[in-house]
Subunit: 592 residues, 2 copies
């Protein structure tokens, strides 16, 4: 994307958030440059006054003027900076919020696409670690400050000689050229270092991750990890030794030019003092102008380089902000209740892969049916569910609900009709009630309490200090409660049931439950789910017995779709094999 | 801990890593202060030379001297800084490594103790986010730089008048007092803000976490999260508005004192110029001494405040480094093979909790026995395993292997006799082979290949681009391979089997496997485990059928410890209930 467009994107966002921000920026810059100019100009009069032995009163007036001017300008600078600091945070948060909102609303499949994941990572790295937005803004402020200062100083020095100005500009040009070359080298260096740093970061991180420690200890991996980290350290150190050598070279050159500039400024002004008889006050003024001038121009150049660098960092952010929202890619039909679900010759491979996970699948589910999906690991069971949740779009064929392609329904009403507990479901650091309702507290406490009873969590919740208002999780509050895997799963099931959706999907709903809790849930399931349509995926084959029909998937194709009873008739079928391979261990007991 | 002790700890670590570091620090400081002093003193001679209209040649010599002195000193500064930069990284890495090593070697139970977890978090936050070690070192450098500078400047100003020095010191004292007060306020402010910031961080983080997105989307939680984040933003903004107001006040005062100092310096030196007839060169020298002096003293004070702040940040790090290593807490007996395992009246509650997880448990396992541990969720099954792995120490009673308390065995030989697959086992971003051997590649490729065959992963591994040398995980390399839960579990089982341990522990070893893979593993288990002693925990009750004996735990007590066959005879027992509740669904089929 063009630099200009990115600048427009960021500053457009800032302008939306706070137009007064720009006004404050400008006032602050005026204060900044005015203070520098005042301290270049006013001392001249004091020194000239001293030279001609003015009265103490006059001299004192000059001292007072310098002091008051400094005080007033410093006040302006500090006050605007104070407001700017608050505004900067506000701006940063708004942009972060916009970023988070975008991530929550792009098509889900982007979030499993390595390209977008990487884009997101880089955008978020730029935002959080490189502080790109913050640095862009502060460098823009510095740019304004230095620009005004440079203009003022040039005006002063022009009074002495244009040769001084032009020569200084020339030398500053050389400085900036060196700086730019180094800056390019530096950028390349860090880009080259990135992969090594990532590995290093991963292995160092391992030592700090609590969840890994049992394995690390039992398998005695600490020396192996330590050696790896040390070897990456050494490699990175070799890189940096090279880098610092190069840096030394550039900085040496830089220093030579700066010293030359100082010699030139002193020399030029000294000669002028001797030859054209300007006063000692003028001498100090011109020398300090020249010195301030080069540092101001260098700061100006630095700001420009930094701005362009920050804009480069913001590239992935800008690209991400332009990814269309999921909602916009979907239709506007309203979905009320699910009457029929139809997979119509659906073929699907995950984006950017070749392997067909589902291969020409067709089946139909009617309202109120309880369907179990079974198959080997990797057969495509979870993919069926993900497609139905519209997390991905089938390449070939279509999925229809009530006879209409699911992508023709609008975002909101479609999601309302679905409730799901995924294998990797998550609870959030909200209260128990909020975790179930997914809304702020107090929405529907009675129903929540009933559901907690239904999933057999009543006793556990009663034990908690604040009942259903207890905070889940210790992420930011040590008082938060924690659940075992099975208990958390029960809360997730309650969440799915709370959402009054006409289609309930449960992917491995009881894997973490003990046999008795599992039996309880299964026994209650039909009453829990009521007349809703339900889809289950479970490795415990016994759950199929409860279902109206079983969808048997094998290597992406439908092997069979029938009731448990009928499927068991085919002793050659995979379903028979799956069921009996698990059942036989239990039957052993029956035979004993 | 005392400031001095922490300083000793950190500098002791630094001294161990690189004594030459301190030498470089000192040379760099000398260069730094010498440059400031040179630029205060030498211009005096140039200006005096101008005043008395010295020859251009003499003046040029002065200009040249200023330039060369600057160049040489800048060279010294830059060169030492370059080496220091490299050394600083080395020092940082060594300290990070020491930290990581400590975390990997403290008693495991510390890692589940909230106090130590918090300590670890804070220590790691200080290291990584606050850069405490780095800042301590750079501030120490700055402290040295400024100290030498201040001493030099005092020496110059004393030549003019001790009144100047004392008055300036007084005003600088006031400045530092204001700075210190503000710094205290600031520290308190951020401490108070911390809990709000943690919540804010958690909720913002949610939006970026890929694994949560399915739930966030399906339950329409985006607006709720957005509102929460905005409300925390607003709250934090209110805090910062207050903060910046206070900051404005302090900085205003600060500014007033600085301006007064400048007025005083100009005024005092001007009067001296008029009254005692010192030269204009001296005037500029003394004024610039005074101005440099206050900034140097302020920098010195800032460095001192920062050093004490960084030492405060490093408090948890220092505390953690003093936690004794696990190894040191254990005995020195060598363990060869496990002949018997005995729990002798073991009672256990997790550290800092009251609830007895195990309550007076006794049982004995003999060499070669295959034992299944069953019970409801939370009955204490995993705790038995954790105690046996010496991750915790029982409060009452003892665990004996071969008749000797397990804590009397030395660290290395004890861990060698154990292999375990935990419920939350982890694979690492190493090659497949390294994940199995936990050693660098090429140790025992044949055995690894055999084990892969044994756990039925041969085909999957063959498909991979580099076979067993393929990298697992995409953490730092997009080429890394990923496994399904079941496949990863198989590799973890292979890892446990690779370790030629005489006791194998499997906690929920087949939960993520499909029925056929599960049946395969079970069928092979006896041959896989061979004559090793084995402990299983599984919610799939059918696994008990394969075992010699079943340990039934109920609410922390042993309900029964017998063979499956015998246990099934007691139709009132919990084992019978557990088994039949799961089996009946499979038997339904047998009855149909």
């Amino acid at each position: 994307m063009k630099q200009l467009e990115k600048t427009k994107l960021v500053f457009g966002l800032v302008w939306e958030i706070s137009p007064s921000y720009f006004f404050l920026l400008f006032i602050n810059s005026l204060g900044y440059s005015a203070q520098i100019l005042v301290n270049v100009i006013l001392p001249k009069y004091l020194i000239d006054g001293l030279m001609i032995k003015e009265s103490l009163q006059v001299l004192f007036q000059w001292v007072l003027l310098i002091a008051i001017a400094n005080l007033v300008l410093a006040f302006i600078k500090k006050t605007t900076k104070r407001f700017l600091d608050v505004k900067e945070k506000e701006v940063y948060w708004h942009i972060e919020r916009a970023f988070a909102k975008k991530i929550m609303s792009v098509e889900y499949q982007n979030l499993e696409d390595p390209y977008y994941l990487d884009l997101k990572e880089r955008a978020s790295f730029a935002m959080m670690n490189q502080g790109a937005v913050y640095n862009l803004i502060t460098n823009f402020l510095s740019f304004l400050n230095q620009l005004l200062t440079v203009i003022g100083l040039i005006a002063i020095m022009f009074r002495l000689s244009w040769i001084l100005v032009v020569s200084l500009l020339g030398m500053v040009g050389i400085t900036l050229f060196i700086y730019r070359a180094f800056s390019k080298y530096q950028q390349q260096f860090f880009a080259d270092l990135l992969p090594i740093n990532r590995k290093y970061g991963y292995y160092v991180g391992l030592s700090f991750e609590k969840n890994l420690h049992k394995d690390v200890r039992l398998y005695g991996m600490s020396p192996m990890l330590g050696d790896l980290v040390t070897s990456y350290n050494k490699e990175i150190n070799r890189w940096f030794t090279k880098f610092h050598r190069k840096q030394g070279l550039y900085m040496g050159l830089f220093q030579v030019v700066v010293v030359m500039q100082t010699i030139f400024a002193y020399g030029f002004v000294s000669i002028k003092t001797l030859t054209s008889g300007i006063s000692i006050g003028d001498l100090t003024m011109y020398v300090s102008s020249a010195v301030s001038f080069s540092s101001a121009v260098i700061a100006l150049g630095t700001a420009i380089v930094s701005i362009s660098q920050m804009l480069a960092y913001l590239e992935p952010f800008a690209e991400l902000m332009n990814v269309p929202d999921e909602e916009k890619l979907q239709g506007d039909k309203k979905l009320e209740t699910v009457e029929t679900i139809e997979f119509d010759h659906v073929t699907f491979a995950y984006p950017k892969t070749d392997k067909k996970i589902l291969d020409d699948i067709s089946f139909r589910i009617n309202k109120g049916e309880k369907i179990s999906i079974v198959g080997l690991n990797g057969a495509g069971k979870s993919t069926v569910v993900k497609l139905l949740c519209r997390l991905y779009k089938p390449e070939v064929g279509s999925i229809k609900i009530n006879g209409i392609d699911i992508f023709e329904y609008d975002h909101e009403s479609y999601l309302k009709t679905l409730a799901a507990v995924f294998q990797d479901f998550k609870l959030f650091n909200f209260t128990i009630e909020e975790n179930i309702t997914c809304r702020p507290v107090g929405v529907d406490t009675k129903l929540v309490e009933k559901l907690i009873k239904d999933v057999a969590m009543e006793e556990k919740i009663k034990e908690l200090p604040h009942g259903i208002n207890s905070l889940f999780g210790k992420e930011y509050d040590d008082e938060g409660v924690e659940f075992s895997g099975g208990q958390a799963q029960k809360i997730a099931i309650a969440r799915a049931l709370y959402k009054d959706a006409s289609l309930v999907i449960l992917d491995e709903p009881t894997s973490a439950l003990d046999p008795i809790a599992e039996a309880e849930i299964y026994e209650k399931f039909n009453s829990l789910v009521g007349d809703k349509t339900a889809l289950y995926i479970s490795h415990r084959m016994s759950s199929s017995v409860f279902c109206d029909k079983v969808l048997v998937i094998r290597e992406g194709k439908i092997e069979a779709f029938d009731s448990h009873k009928n499927l068991m008739l085919d002793e050659e079928g995979i379903y028979y094999e799956l069921f009996t391979s698990q059942a036989k261990n239990y039957r052993l007991e029956a035979l004993n």
